[in-house]
Symmetry: C2
Subunit: 110 residues, 2 copies
DNA sequence: CTGTTTGTTAAGCATATACTTAAGTATCGC
DNA sequence: GCGATACTTAAGTATATGCTTAACAAACAG
């Protein structure tokens, strides 16, 4: 089984490549086939398929094959996991600032 | 100059490593020195410094050296850039769902 | 059945990443 | 000044990543 840390590794790694992000951008507008995803990119089809494998391994994208066409779509629940990590960090920071503010207010009062 | 895509590459790449994320987690609780960041990690100090360089190159972390101590902190504005990219994708998707909803509603009406 | 479309598999290669150890530099405390 | 502290730099290495081309497979269209 893949723990949460490993999933975050794979997700952020998947998002770290501009071609893969462009694939996700395309998919956020709706499902697409492999060749539709490949069309705007300047690389070979196998390269696109490899990027797709990275995206699927990360959980960010799912796909199913019907006939000879593989249709891909974003898994928004998975993307949420990555967003959550960042929001959690921001929240920790904000809490810290709140406590710091309280402390400074006490100092002023005292 | 580094364009927005390159910055996103570096940020997501920086976030793709569990050691670097743990460093950010530590820093979200407040500034820390290099050796404080190194303490919970099981790697050599130079390795930690290399991770720190990746974080700084990405813009997610800033640091300044005073005397012999380098103090590091998270740049929250930079982290926002990565969050924004994800939220933009989600927003595109939600808009699409809205339009789809409108379309289906029209179909029902007509 | 045959050719075209759509994707898959395999192998190879150049570069990047994530470490390591060893050796150096610059404070700071006494 | 002198030892300890807090990094920093350099060099080397093993594995991972991002491609490529060539060859294969399956499904649909005529």
């Amino acid at each position: 089984m893949l723990n949460k840390q490993d999933k975050l590794d794979l997700m952020f790694q998947a998002l770290a490549d501009p071609s893969r992000r462009s694939m996700i951008e395309r998919l956020s507008k709706g499902p697409a086939s492999v060749s539709e995803l490949a069309k705007p990119l300047t690389m070979s089809l196998p390269a696109v398929v490899q990027h797709l494998q990275v995206l699927e391994a990360s959980g960010l994208v799912r796909s199913e094959k019907v006939g000879r066409v593989r249709t891909c779509r974003v898994d928004w629940v998975a993307l949420q996991t990555a967003e959550d990590w960042m929001m959690d960090r921001r929240r920790t920071w904000e809490l810290r600032l709140d406590r710091l503010g309280d402390f400074l207010a006490d100092q002023t009062k005292g």
